[in-house]
Symmetry: C2
Subunit: 486 residues, 2 copies
């Protein structure tokens, strides 16, 4: 089928011309005029058809490719991608936008029981690095450390953590984002979760209101609740991240002490906020004098390897705390994460000492070796395409086996897919049925303090792919169809 451009570009419109080309093509993909597999007009033809320059069309096509709407094939041109299924374009609106205490504890307990169960197909837990474990390289590094450090490796690390590891983390930021980090502004923690605990305790008190994305990581909600704080949801778009207009409204309406966002790569949506949006976000928080704790544990796991710059390095560092971890990228069981903070590092160090003294030295020395040897970078390079392939496989199976009206997120990295099931399907029911059938999944309610997302689930592709995985997805699809028909 030959595709004919139906609309011309309006040069008097205020927006960039290349953006208008994007909108034109995206609109025709959305309407079905352009179908998966269709070839886009060549750069020259498109240029002539809409009356803009060839470089402008190229810019638009490259951006469309970045957005994974089209793909380039060498010596052939640009083609509309096979999209796994309908994507979630706008989020389900946050139910009330008011600060609330967590109300999905009992379900959360049941979900954790499921997640921790060793014999279930683990679609419920976000565990990207287990898709291609770096066990051999890490074990080698640890053995080197044991023979080199001997007795010292049994001893306490310092409160802030092993200097060699802090230097390597600082170097990794420099290498991947060009950002300068002082090793003395880094505190090593017991994984990303303790990083969030220390950061939040350092800047907020019981009763304070914490703004979160919706949907957001359930561990964050549980932490906020455990500290006697309240959560308020801010609309978050699966394609663009935090909706800045809704953030402003929230900050105007409520005395928000802290925002806890994942702007580099979110969970469960798998979205990276555009850098200019993130700059704007930093500016808004500055205006409202609100602290940002950014959960950056997935930042190294964009499929395309482009490491987004943490918000801390986009504006005035002062009121931003960045939390990172090796749990998603290398070794969950090592329990090694970190905090980067300029203004709060002394307070964070005091809390770290009072709460858990210091973190495991042997793992810190091992990770320092793992980074310094280049093995970490090599591991990430090998891991990302595995995750991307898993994401595509899972998306394709969902498109094939779930009801047609199922909509899925379009992750740009990480290890999870966020699914909106038909309205009549209870994710909680699906969770119970799945566990009984030997599969763990994460029902949508635990990603919201108000327990919305009742017909959403998060599925993880962060494990070695196998027949078991495919069977599990097929089984889930069948069960969702049955539940939809009841």
């Amino acid at each position: 089928m030959t595709y004919t451009v139906m609309l011309a570009i309006d040069k008097r419109d205020g927006t960039y011309l290349y953006r208008q080309v994007i909108d034109l093509v995206a609109g025709d993909i959305g309407s079905g005029l352009l179908k998966p597999g269709d070839r886009l007009p060549s750069l020259r033809k498109m240029s002539q058809a809409v009356g803009v320059s060839v470089p402008t069309v190229r810019q638009a096509y490259i951006e469309l490719e970045r957005q994974r709407r089209v793909e380039s094939r060498p010596q052939s041109g640009f083609y509309v991608r096979h999209r796994p299924t309908n994507e979630i374009v706008r989020p389900a609106r946050s139910i009330n936008g008011k600060p609330v205490a967590l109300n999905c504890r009992p379900l959360m307990e049941r979900v954790y029981d499921g997640i921790n169960h060793p014999n279930l197909v683990p679609l419920g837990i976000a565990n990207p690095c287990m898709a291609k474990p770096a066990a051999k390289a890490l074990h080698r590094a640890m053995k080197r450390v044991m023979s080199r450090a001997e007795e010292r490796s049994l001893n306490y690390a310092s409160t802030l953590g092993e200097p060699a590891l802090r230097r390597q983390i600082a170097y990794h930021y420099l290498d991947t984002t060009g950002s300068q980090v002082e090793p003395d502004h880094i505190c090593i923690t017991n994984g990303g979760q303790e990083a969030l605990l220390l950061a939040l305790t350092a800047v907020a008190s019981p009763g304070d209101v914490i703004a979160v994305e919706t949907p957001t990581y359930h561990g964050l909600l549980e932490l906020i609740d455990s500290l006697g704080m309240l959560a308020v949801e801010v609309e978050t778009c699966p394609e663009e991240g935090v909706t800045l207009s809704d953030l402003k409204r929230t900050l105007e309406e409520h005395a928000v002490r802290v925002c806890m966002f994942s702007t580099t790569l979110g969970n469960p949506l798998g979205v990276t906020m555009r850098e200019d949006d993130r700059r704007e976000l930093v500016g808004i928080l500055d205006d409202f004098d609100t602290v940002l704790i950014e959960d950056d544990v997935y930042g190294d796991l964009r499929f395309d390897g482009h490491r987004p710059v943490p918000a801390q390095f986009l504006g005035s560092k002062a009121r931003i705390i960045t939390c990172g971890s090796f749990s998603k990228t290398a070794a969950p069981g090592y329990r090694i994460g970190w905090i980067v903070s300029d203004q709060y590092i002394d307070k964070i160090a005091r809390l770290k000492r009072a709460f858990s003294c210091s973190s495991g030295l042997l793992q810190q020395l091992t990770l320092a070796d793992f980074l310094a040897s280049g093995d970490y970078s090599r591991h990430l390079k090998a891991l990302r395409p595995v995750l991307q392939r898993n994401a595509e496989r899972m998306g394709a199976l969902v498109a094939q086996h779930f009801p047609r009206e199922t909509r899925t997120s379009k992750p740009v990295g990480g290890s999870v897919l966020w699914l909106e099931l038909p309205k009549s399907v209870s994710a909680e029911q699906l969770f119970d049925d799945a566990v009984a059938a030997g599969i763990s999944i994460a029902p949508g309610q635990i990603f919201s303090p108000c327990s919305c997302y009742e017909n959403f689930v998060r599925l993880s592709y962060g494990h070695p792919w196998g027949d078991q995985t495919e069977d599990a997805i097929r089984w889930l699809g069948r069960r969702v169809k049955e539940l939809a028909e009841q």
Copy 2:
């Protein structure tokens, strides 16, 4: 010199006869009538001299030996021990006995800087297992685990912790104290400090009053302060532990939510409360409906190897939480501790998940192997006499080089000596001078929320003994003499 018993026993006195014999001998040791190295009268002679039976005298001598005032020599009899120096008989009375917020933070910061400094002679940090590190056996165990568990060893442990390790800890309690512990009532933590954090957070809220021994472990005070709670000191005797009459008074006068005591082996006093006193303590807390969090991290380190039974197993378990750790006995850097609780385990597990997810799996598997193989018991058997020898050496050097009026604790285990210096000596000044001279020590103020103990220091003998250690003690003695004369 022949020793003549000067006092007779008064049988009309209400106290046990053997206790009167103890008091008689202890009094004569105290007055100098009996000197170190002197032989006590034989059982028969003493029996005739004071008019009580031979078994009663034997009971008294055995108790005196247990108190380390005398020692038995095979085929020879009982001798007065060489005591390092005058012992601290009664504590400096807690300054006010009222709930207070910690007021020694700045000093504590400086002390931690000193403790963490790698190039100082480490007399400031309580680190018993480094006196004889189990590095070889632990490294062997870890290598076994790495080849056995492979990729699994990188993965998350469950929230409560690796079942194999929890079973080994339960078995260790059974083996050493005869107490039955359910593995499902154990939660593995990031060292003893996180165990204290989780236990305290589970049962108390900001503003609550927490009763502590005085002097007590500084990490406990920092934790209480970090959680916005207040501490009230309860008189603690270097020979008997918590003074029960003062505890009752405190509970009557203040709304104490929780007591945090180390009744099995305390820090810094190195004292074990007698089991009947601990039973009585449990009864008192029951009467006042007060929770006990017992810090049992030194329980395995009595020199005589007699493992005191944690208070939890002496009474109604319900309102007692026991915190343990491998940091003092095996590997500080592994950051593996635990909590034993019956009533609160579900709440503790939720907090553990929210605060730090789970603890390091590789270390848990390694310690499970280390315990199961018997290596842990063998290590403790080898470690205890090293600690005892270090304690004696340090005591002897203090007696030799410190001013005569210096008084020292008489630890029955662990790795620290608590010294009362002449009144005019500032421990803070000594700390500053010592750090400048390349020695870390722990000044007394950080062991009290009111910063009393201004002329006390805690010295650690928990490191390999060497000329450096002896030089450091000699240097400290000289400096204390100089400060006393100023």
